[in-house]
Each structure stands twice: as C-alpha cells, then as structure tokens.
C-alpha cells in the first residue's frame, strides 16, 4: 500500500533582480503602485527583471508503507524543498501529494527550543510542536531523558547546555515520536559518535515496526546503512529511483563523469586573452579496480593545457583548491620556465588520502615572471570527494578539510596483569 503519492509536484520561485523590491517596505510598494497608475501600461518595468527558478519540476514517485527512502543529490537539487512540501510547510506551485498517516518531520534538531526554558519545559514544547500529545510525552518522558543523558540538567535552561547536550535532547525527543511516517533532514550530521550510532539504530528499529522513513542526507554511508530505496535529485528533477545501492552507484558515477573535463577546440572560442588561451582542463582520477567515483582514497591528476601566444616568456602555473564555502585550502605553483609560442601542458598530482570528503573547486592561474597573473581560470573544475571509511562504525561528518593518514602509533605500555 503506498502511503505517499507524489504527482507532478513543482515549486517555482520568482527571483527579483532589482534588489529591495519584493520584500522591502510599504513605501516602495506604494510608490511603485502609484507610479504604475500614472505611467503608461508598458513603461512601468523599470529595469526590473524577474527570473523564474524551479526548485522542483514535475516530480513523481510513491512510497510504500515500511519503506526507508533515502534522498540524495547536490546542494540545490530540491531535496529540502521536497521535504518542506511533504511536511506542509510550503505549498507546491502545482501538482498534488497524497499522504496517508500521521507525519512527523524533523527538519532541524530541537525545533522551537527556547533558550530560556529548561530542558523539561523544552521537551514538552518541542514534543507538541512535532505533533505529540501531552500524555504521550509524559509516557516517554523518562525514556527521552535517559536516551539524551541529560538527567542532571533537566531544570537548567537549555541556553546553558553544551551544543552536544542540546542536540542529544533534540534528537531524543524526535526519536520517541510515534508517527506512521517520519521525514528526516540531515540530523545525523550532528552529535558525537556513540550518539549517532544510537540514533541510527533507533531509526532502524522504528522502521522495523512498519514505519515509513524519508531521509535526506549528504552522507551516502548513512543512506546506505539505513535506506532500502533511494531517490536521486538533480536541479529539481527526479533523475533516478530504485534500490539504494544501485541508485547511489549511478549517482556517484554520474558525478564523476560529468564535470571533470572542460575543453575548447580552437583558440578563438577558448577563454583567455591575447596572450594566453585555455585549451583543456581536466581532472583525471586514478581509480583503483572497479571504482567509478572519487572518494577520500583516490589520487587525482589535474591536467591543464593552454596556448601561449607570446614569443618568449617566463611562465608558471599556479593551482588553487577551494572548499565549497570558498576558502582556499592550498595553492601549488610550478617552476617558472621560458616557453615559446605553442601549446603547453601542466600536470599536478593530488594524492589519495589527502582531501576530506566534500565539494572542491580548482582554479588555475597562468603567471608571467612569477609576479604578473596573465589569466586566472576561476571555477575551472568542481568535483566531489565522497566519504569512505573502513572499520569505523561512526557515520558523522568527518571533520576538517584534509584527511591525511599520518603515521599514528598507539601501544599499551604497561599492561595490567590481573
């Protein structure tokens, strides 16, 4: 029996490019309207451009009872929009959704927590916001407190909680919800290792009792551990759905295939200037056997080819690697050497076990005489490094930008012999 039927769901946003019009003040709205009355019918457009943006477009799927459905895709693929529509928080632009059963959605840990209120008060506040009845909360109160491990701080305002305690309490409440359908967004990305294991286990137990779960995560390992089916979204569209391992495999290989190579056939169409033009920029992962995507183990080569139009110049390449948030993680420069006219190739190796999982962007700069930048190929290639771990039962986000495997020796010095 399908408990969720989604038919042709679309969500459109209108983006105003002249900032300050849409959400500004009454004064602007009034002057705009009044101007509209006095100006001719066509004149009114004053450099205002609307851009339509489809956060979701014609999405169709259905979920059977007891399914644990993972939802994967890049940032901006429409995952969160979908969850918000299913949770009745936003309205779709068109299409319809049919849901059978009580829904609890968990888009945030500790929704509605008030910093001034005590842990006890917040349990009731958050619980009833998530749709629990007061007697239900009372019933599972002790269990929630024990699960979160905050017994001693029940009557302390949560503003004095550590962030770990705050998160644990928030998750503990939602873990004791008793809905037929549970919608979860990225909440496993927080909390310490032991707690995450406990939460994931709790969610799996829940689904064993016939509960349906929808789970959005960037963490493919967690999706694989929890979900039996997966939906893959890209740019607001549902690209693929089906059995988890299959969908994730094609998601990963698709990511690897699409964006790692950029090439321009002739100097005329290539980016650059009169001095240099870019011919090709490519990220070539050295996949070990039967792997089709980049993960933290993969070593890669960045190849960069450009046409030099100058007769003789001392040139070098400078490679920057940026995180998704735009922080520069490293910068590597090549030796400056004299080159004549023609095609020049550079190659830089990024070893495996170096970058942490995440999304990165490479830019390459062509520099003359080690000081004058001739051309900067900004946002050249963007790629994802997926997570991989062995012998670790922890699904949380591994911290840091780099993930080196430095020699780390641990041994017992004085064994206690009983």
């Amino acid at each position: 029996m399908s408990v969720i039927t989604v038919e042709n769901i679309s969500k459109q946003y209108i983006i105003d490019h002249k900032r300050g019009k849409g959400s500004s003040s009454i004064r602007d709205a009034i002057t705009h309207t009044v101007k509209g009355w006095f100006a001719g019918p066509k004149e009114d457009t004053d450099e205002l451009t609307h851009e339509e943006f489809w956060a979701l477009r014609d999405v169709n799927f259905s979920v059977e009872q007891g399914d644990r459905v993972g939802i994967v895709g890049h940032n901006g693929a429409g995952k969160s929009t979908l969850l918000k529509i299913l949770s009745k928080i936003i309205e779709p632009t068109s299409g319809s959704v049919k849901i059978r059963g009580r829904v609890a959605s968990l888009l945030e840990v500790g929704t509605g927590f008030h910093p001034e209120l005590t842990g006890r008060e917040n349990i009731f506040l958050n619980g009833s916001l998530l749709g629990m009845r007061k007697d239900e909360i009372k019933q599972s109160f002790d269990e929630i407190v024990a699960f979160a491990g905050v017994e001693r701080f029940l009557d302390t305002p949560v503003k004095r909680y550590s962030s770990g305690m705050y998160v644990r309490l928030g998750f503990a409440i939602s873990a004791h919800l008793n809905p037929e359908i549970m919608i979860v967004d990225e909440v496993l990305a927080v909390g310490d290792a032991e707690f995450q294991k406990k939460s994931l286990g709790k969610m799996r137990d829940n689904s064993a009792s016939g509960r349906t779960i929808l789970f959005v995560s960037h963490n493919l390992t967690a999706v694989q551990a929890l979900c039996n089916k997966t939906l893959y979204f890209e740019k607001g569209q549902l690209i693929e759905q089906g059995e988890t391992n299959q969908v994730i495999a094609s998601y990963l290989s698709k990511v690897a295939r699409t964006r790692l190579r950029r090439e321009w056939k002739t100097p005329e169409e290539a980016p650059g200037n009169d001095l240099v033009r870019v011919h090709r920029m490519e990220l070539i992962p050295d996949y070990p056997d039967n792997l089709t995507h980049i993960d933290v183990r993969t070593s890669m080569r960045v190849q960069f080819e450009f046409w030099n139009m100058m007769d003789r110049a001392n040139l070098n390449l400078s490679l920057h690697l940026y995180s998704l948030t735009g922080e520069c993680i490293f910068n590597v420069g090549s030796q400056s050497q004299p080159y004549g006219k023609g095609l020049i190739q550079g190659e830089c190796v990024i070893p495996g076990y170096f970058l942490n999982d995440g999304t990165y962007t490479i830019s390459v700069m062509i520099v003359k005489d080690t000081v004058t930048p001739l051309y900067n190929m900004e946002e050249g290639i963007t790629f994802d490094v997926e997570d991989y771990r062995e012998g670790v039962a922890w699904y949380g986000k591994w911290p840091g930008y780099v993930r080196p495997q430095f020699p780390f020796r641990v041994e017992a010095l004085e064994p206690i012999i009983p």
Binding site: Y13, S23, S25, I26, R27, A29, K84, I85, L86, S87, K88, I89, I90, E91, P92, T93, S94, G95, S96, V97, K98, I99, R100, G101, R102, V103, S105, L107, E108, T111, G112, H114, E116, L117, E121, F124, L125, S128, L129, L130, R133, K134, P157, E180
Partner: protein, 276 residues
Amino acid sequence: MKTQEVIIQAGRPERYYWRDLWRSRELLLILSMRDISVRYKQTALGASWSLIRPLATMLVMVFVFSMVAKLRADPGVPYPLMVLSGITIWTFFSNAFTQISSSVTANANLVSKVYFPRLLMPLSAVAVSLIDFLITMVLFIIVAIWYAYVPDWHLIYMPLFVLLAMLAAFAFGLFFSAINVRFRDVGQLIPFLVQIGFYACPIAYSSREVAGKWFEKYYIMNPLVGIIEGFRWSLLGGKTHLNPQSLVYSVGITLICLSFSLYFFRKRENSFVDDI
C-alpha cells in the same frame, strides 16, 4: 486509530483546518506557557513589573490630568479609580494587539521548520497580556478597597467587555501579523497607533466630556470607545458615562474586521515561509 489522508495541493484550502486547530489546543497551551514563563526571565523584579507599570501610569495621570489639567471624573467616582479602570482595559487591548501583530514574525524559526495551524501564533500571543490583565485587576481591587468602593451587580457584564476587547485586539492584530511577514514597517506603525489610541480613547478622561459635542458621532466610531466605556461602567457600578450607540459600533466594527482579518490571514498563511 483510523489513518487520516492528507492531500497537499496548490491553493487548496485545508479541509480539516478548524478540526486541526481544535486538536492543537494542547500546543496552544504550551506555546502560551512558553511566552508567559519567558516573559520575566532574568529580571530582578519579575512579575511585579505588571503591577509597577499600571500603578506608575495611574499616578502620573492622576497628577497631570486631575491636578494640573483639572479634568473631572464622573460624579460619584474617584478620579484614580476611573483612570485605573481605563488603563487596565486599554493596556490589555494594546498589549494583546501589539503581541498579536508581531506573533508570526516572532515565531519565524518555527514557521519555516515545522507545520502547525498558523493561527496558533496569534492565539497564543494573547496569553501574556491576559495574565498581565489579571494582575492589574488585583491592583484595581486594592485601590478600590483603599477608596472603600464596592462594585455592584453591573460587574457581571465585565467578562463580556474583556472578551470584546480581546476580539478587537484579535481583529486588528491578525491583519497586521500577516502584513508584518512581508512588510516590517508594521513594527514601526504599531507603537505609533497605540500612542494615538491612548488619547483617542476615554482613558484619562471621561467620555462625558465628549458627550453632546459636534464631533461625538465621529468619536464613538472608534470601536475602543465603547469597550472602554462599557468596561468602566460595569466595574464602577453604572455610574460612569456609557453611550449605547458606541457599543453598537464596537461590536459591529469588531466583528466585521475580525471576519476580514481571518479571511486575509488564511489567504496569506501558506506563503508565510516564502516571505518571512
């Protein structure tokens, strides 16, 4: 339990809206409790602020209007009692009105993260002002005892006027709470309206001063005039001025505005998240 089926569609009015609202009454209570218990956190004087403010206002007004401006109360009514009764109901109305107007934006973090009947926000916003009102009533009783003033049977009408004040606060506040989501100008406008209202309503003076004047027929169109007159009349044993026509305006305007505001709020509530 029977499984309920929900259909989500653009522009489709929620079929079980009022039933959902009724089922969420526990949440309403909890949200109200939250506002109340957060109110005086980290203040040294705590809830006594609810006493200090009206008391101080009364003293200032007694000084300014009775001793300096020589305004008179209705015959047989001590001026401080007349002022205090006016302040009590006006403060209730204006606090409720202000809180309701900002209720949706104040709960922005909830609106974008969880679904619940959106009307709960303005509804729960009344709670704090209702508690304050009850505390001020205690103050009124103390002052009444001081003046050896005993209310009579008129008192049974008092809850009606309190209810009417609440409905009026709701009727006007609900509209602004929805506007506020899009236009934060409302935050500037409301204190200004409240300030004007204070003088446009018979609080520091008796509406008897207006009776018979050429502008009386416009004066009583202010729905708050009837409410304040009525509240005072029931509290002070029918000795104060009450123009029945002003009550008709109060009830009429309140009900019309209330239905319009409800309609408007329900029309806008689905796009709160997109605008907030």
